[in-house]
C-alpha cells in the first residue's frame, strides 16, 4: 500500500506549469477550436492544452471548474461559444480586463464595456425548416405558435445553451408568452440544437428553433433544410458571438495575451466563416454578412442572471 502511495505522490509531483504552454478552457466545438490551437502553436511555439465541455455539460462543466479554481487558477484563457457564461464569470471576479490590440476594430455591441471579454465570430438563432414539406416558412418566433405548425415544431431544452440565451434575451414577458404559446401548439422539446435540426431534416418536424451553424452543417451533408433569420421586421435576430477572456491570475499570462490576440485576428474570423459552421464575422471588414441582418440588442450581463426566468419558462413549457 505504501508503495502505491509513493507512486501516487510521484505522479502528483510531476506537474508544475511549463513556460511554453497555455491552458485554454474552451466551451466551443472541438472541431473548430483545434485547428486554431494548432495554428497558434505553429506560429508561436507555445503549446495549447485545452479542456473542452461536452454538449450536455456546456452550462455546467467549465464554469463550475473556473469558479472552483478561482483561488488557484489552472486556466489562462476562457473561450466560450456565447457571452452569457463569460459575463457570469466576470460578475464572479474570475476574469481580468484586457484590451487586445487585435480586437480594437470590434464594435461595441460585441465586446464587454469593461474589457472583461471580447466577442468574435457569431452564430445566429434561426428558424430551420424542411424544404420539402414547407414552402412558406414562418418568419417570426411568434409564427411558430401558428396552429398550422401544431405538433410540428421542435426546440432544444430552454435551460441550457443558446436556447436558454435566446429565451433570456427576449425578456420575461415575451419569453413566457412565447413558451406558453409553443406549449399550447404542441412543441417538441429535445436535448440539443442538433437534434432539432435532425428532426426537421428527417421530416419528423417541419420547423424548429436552432443555431445557424447546426443548419449549415446539415445542409452540407445533404439535409433538405433551410433557414430564416426571424423577426427581421421586428426586434431582430439574436446573434451570439464567441467570447474570449483572460483569467485573473493566469499562470501563463504573457502567452495567454498572445493567444487572445491570435484568436481575435481577422484571420480567425475568416477561418470560422469558411468553416462548415459558417460563423458570421463581427467585423464588416472581414464580411458584411452580419451587418445585413437586423440583430437584437442585448445586455449580456443581464442575461447571465436569468436562472429564475428560465425556471418559469421551463414550467410554462410543461417540463
Amino acid at each position: 500500500m505504501r508503495a502505491v502511495l509513493v507512486g501516487f505522490i510521484l505522479l502528483l509531483a510531476s506537474c508544475s506549469p511549463r513556460t511554453d504552454e497555455i491552458v485554454v478552457y474552451a466551451s466551443v466545438d472541438e472541431v473548430y477550436a483545434r485547428p486554431l490551437f494548432e495554428e497558434f502553436t505553429r506560429r508561436s511555439g507555445v503549446r495549447v492544452l485545452p479542456v473542452f465541455d461536452t454538449e450536455e455539460a456546456k452550462t455546467l462543466g467549465l464554469v463550475h471548474r473556473l469558479l472552483a479554481e478561482k483561488a488557484h487558477p489552472q486556466c489562462d484563457v476562457f473561450w466560450a461559444g456565447d457571452c452569457v457564461r463569460t459575463a457570469l464569470l466576470k460578475r464572479e471576479g474570475v476574469l481580468q480586463p484586457f484590451q487586445p490590440k487585435a480586437g480594437a476594430d470590434i464594435a461595441a455591441p460585441w465586446r464587454d464595456p469593461d474589457h472583461a471579454w471580447t466577442g468574435f465570430g457569431a452564430r445566429a438563432r434561426v428558424i430551420v425548416y424542411n424544404t420539402t414539406s414547407v414552402k412558406e416558412p414562418p418568419r417570426t418566433l411568434s409564427a411558430l405558435a401558428d396552429p398550422k405548425w401544431r405538433g410540428r415544431v421542435a426546440i432544444a431544452n430552454p435551460l441550457f445553451g443558446t436556447t436558454a440565451n435566446h429565451f433570456a434575451a427576449l425578456g420575461e414577458t415575451e419569453a413566457l408568452r412565447l413558451a406558453a404559446a409553443l406549449k399550447a401548439n404542441g412543441v417538441r422539446v429535445v436535448g440539443g440544437n442538433s437534434h432539432v435540426r435532425d428532426l426537421v431534416a428527417s421530416g419528423d418536424c417541419d420547423v424548429g428553433l436552432t443555431d445557424s451553424d447546426d443548419v449549415w452543417i446539415g445542409k452540407d451533408r445533404g439535409d433538405a433544410i433551410g433557414l430564416v433569420y426571424p423577426d427581421q421586421e421586428g426586434a431582430g435576430t439574436l446573434a451570439i458571438p464567441n467570447s474570449v477572456a483572460l483569467v485573473r491570475g493566469a499562470p501563463h499570462e504573457e502567452n495567454a495575451r498572445r493567444f487572445i490576440e491570435h484568436l481575435l485576428s481577422p484571420e480567425t474570423e475568416r477561418f470560422l466563416a469558411a468553416s462548415p459552421s459558417r460563423q458570421l464575422p463581427v467585423r464588416p471588414s472581414v464580411s458584411v454578412e452580419l451587418s445585413k441582418i437586423r440583430t437584437m440588442a442585448v445586455d449580456w450581463g443581464t442575461l447571465s442572471d436569468s436562472e429564475g426566468l428560465l425556471d418559469r419558462v421551463k414550467r410554462a413549457l410543461g417540463l
Binding site: L11, V23, R47, P50, T54, G61, H64, N193, S194, D311
Partner: protein
C-alpha cells in the same frame, strides 16, 4: 491505512453534501420529477427483471465465459451510447417509457449476475433432495424461488437506483427526472436544491447498502446443480439470447456499420484513448490494492460508497472539486489528474470493495493464525487464491466503468488530457458519426477484452496457486 483511505473515498460525497448545506437554493420536494422518475426507474427495474431472470438462470446452467462477457457488456457501457443507438436507429422520441426501455436494456445484467451469484450459493444437495420428492415446478417454487427472492429484490432496487440517477439519457430526450433536476440545480449554482433533490436517492442507497451488510459472504464460484431442463431451460436460454442480441450484439453491429474506417478513426484519436487507459488503469489498480489488503472486514462507510456509486457521477466530481478547493490541496492534486483519479476511485469504491470484503470464511483465517502462520503466508496461501479471480473481475469492471465515466471527467481532467469518453460525447452532435461509432466500438472492444481476460487470467492463476 485502509480505513483512512476508506474515509478519503467517502470525501467527495461529503464534499457535495457540505456544499449543499452552505450553498444556495431551497430544499423542496420535487414531486413531478419523482413521478417521472418512478416511471423511468420503475419501468427499467421491471424490464431488467424480465431479461435478467432468464439470463441469470441461463448463466447458472453454463460455464462459458462468452455469455458472461455478453452479459457484462451492456452494463459497462456509458448509458449515453444506448441513447445514441436509439437516435442512430431513427426511432421516435421515447419519452419516459422509452427511457425506461433504454435503461432497462442497459441495467438488466445487474439482475442476471446477482441472480446467478445467489443460485451458486444454493447448496447442490438441496436441489437433489427436492428432486427426489417434487416436480420441477414445486422445486422451483419451494426451494429455488425462496432462496433467490432476496437477491432479486436487492437487484431490482439497485437497478431502480441506477436508473433514477442516470442523467445523460433523460437529458438527451428531455425527460424530467430527478437526475435532470439535480443537474439543472447544479447548473444554476443552487447546490442546496440539488442536494435536496438527490437526498431520497442517497437514502435509498444507504438502505440498500444496509441490506447488503447482512448479505452472506459471496462464495468462490461453484457449479450450480442444474434445476432447469427441457423446455424451461430452452426458454430461459432463448430469452437470454434475445437480451444478449438486443443489448450487446446489436449495438456493436450498429456501431461497427457506422464506424467506417475504424482503424483510421481510432488512430486519429489515440491520445484520448491513451489517457482513458491511464486514468482507468490507475483507478482500478489502486482500488483493487486497497480493497484486497488486510483480512476480511466490513466497513461502516459502505453506505456512503454505494451512494457515491448510484448518484450521478457529476456529484462525485463536484464534491471532489469543492473539498479539494476548501482543503487547499487543489493546486497539488488537480494538474496531474490525481484529483480526477481520486474522484473515479470514490465513484467506484463500492464496486471494488463488495467482492473482496470477505473473500474467505473468517474461520479459515482463525485456523491459520492458530497454526502459527505469518501474516504474509496467510495472505499468500489463503487469501490470495480466493481473492485473485474476484480481484481480476472487480478490477476489470472498475477499469471499464472508469473509461466510460463522463461526469467527473468534465470537471477534473487536466488540460490537454481529455478522455475518449469526453471526446466522444463532444463529437456526438456534429454528425461525426464515423468517429463516434469508432470510439464506441473501441469501448465495446476494450470492455469485452478486459472482461474476458480478467475471467480467464484469474482462473489460470488460481489453478497455478492451488496446484
Amino acid at each position: 491505512m485502509r480505513r483512512a483511505w476508506g474515509l478519503v473515498l467517502a470525501a467527495p460525497l461529503a464534499g457535495f453534501l457540505l456544499e449543499a448545506a452552505v450553498g444556495a437554493g431551497r430544499a423542496t420536494l420535487q414531486l413531478r420529477a419523482w413521478g417521472t422518475t418512478l416511471v423511468v426507474a420503475g419501468g427499467a427495474a421491471l424490464l431488467a427483471l424480465g431479461f435478467g431472470i432468464p439470463a441469470g438462470a441461463a448463466l447458472a446452467h453454463s460455464r462459458r465465459t462468452l455469455f458472461r462477457v455478453l452479459t457484462l457488456l451492456p452494463l459497462l457501457l456509458p448509458p449515453v451510447l444506448g441513447a445514441a443507438a436509439w437516435l442512430a436507429a431513427r426511432l421516435p422520441a421515447p419519452g419516459a417509457p422509452g427511457c425506461a426501455l433504454i435503461l432497462g436494456c442497459l441495467y438488466w445484467p445487474v439482475v442476471a449476475l446477482l441472480l446467478e451469484a445467489s443460485l451458486r450459493r444454493l447448496p447442490a444437495d438441496a436441489i437433489d433432495a427436492a428432486s427426489l420428492q417434487w416436480s420441477t415446478r414445486r422445486l422451483l417454487g419451494m426451494v429455488v424461488w425462496r432462496h433467490v427472492r432476496p437477491a432479486l429484490l436487492g437487484a431490482a432496487l439497485l437497478v431502480f437506483l441506477l436508473a433514477a440517477s442516470e442523467f445523460t439519457v433523460p437529458a438527451l430526450f428531455v425527460v424530467p427526472t430527478v437526475s435532470m433536476t439535480v443537474y439543472e440545480e447544479i447548473s444554476a449554482f443552487r447546490t442546496r436544491s440539488a442536494a435536496a433533490a438527490a437526498l431520497p436517492l442517497v437514502a435509498l442507497a444507504v438502505a440498500l447498502a444496509w441490506m447488503l451488510r447482512r448479505a452472506p459472504v459471496l462464495p468462490a464460484s461453484s457449479p450450480v446443480r442444474p434445476f432447469l431442463q427441457g423446455p424451461l431451460l430452452a426458454a430461459a436460454r432463448a430469452l437470454a439470447g434475445v437480451a444478449w442480441a438486443a443489448t450487446a450484439l446489436l449495438p456493436a453491429v450498429l456501431f461497427g456499420w457506422r464506424a467506417g474506417s475504424f482503424f483510421r478513426n481510432a488512430a486519429m484519436n489515440l491520445e484520448p484513448i491513451g489517457w482513458s487507459l491511464i486514468y482507468a488503469g490507475a483507478t482500478a489498480l489502486i482500488l483493487i490494492t486497497w480493497s484486497s489488503l488486510g483480512g476480511p472486514r466490513r466497513s461502516r462507510l459502505e453506505p456512503l460508497w454505494l451512494a457515491t456509486l448510484v448518484l450521478p457521477g457529476v456529484i462525485a466530481g463536484l464534491g471532489a472539486l469543492k473539498i479539494a478547493e476548501r482543503s487547499g490541496v487543489f493546486p497539488y492534486l488537480a494538474p496531474s489528474g490525481a484529483l480526477f483519479v481520486l474522484a473515479l476511485m470514490a465513484r467506484f469504491a463500492f464496486v471494488a470493495w463488495l467482492p473482496l470484503r470477505e473473500p474467505v470464511d473468517r474461520s479459515q483465517i482463525d485456523a491459520a493464525e492458530l497454526a502459527g502462520l505469518s501474516r504474509f503466508r496467510i495472505w499468500k496461501g489463503i487469501l490470495l487464491p480466493a481473492m485473485l479471480p474476484r480481484a481480476a473481475a472487480a478490477g476489470a469492471v472498475v477499469f471499464v466503468l472508469a473509461m466510460g465515466e463522463i461526469g467527473p471527467a468534465v470537471l477534473l481532467t487536466p488540460p490537454g488530457r481529455m478522455t475518449a469518453a469526453q471526446h466522444l460525447f463532444g463529437l456526438m452532435h456534429y454528425g461525426y458519426d464515423g468517429v463516434v461509432a469508432a470510439l464506441a466500438l473501441f469501448l465495446f472492444g476494450a470492455t469485452a477484452l478486459v472482461t474476458w481476460s480478467a475471467m480467464n487470467v484469474g482462473r489460470f492463476r488460481t489453478n497455478r496457486l492451488a496446484g
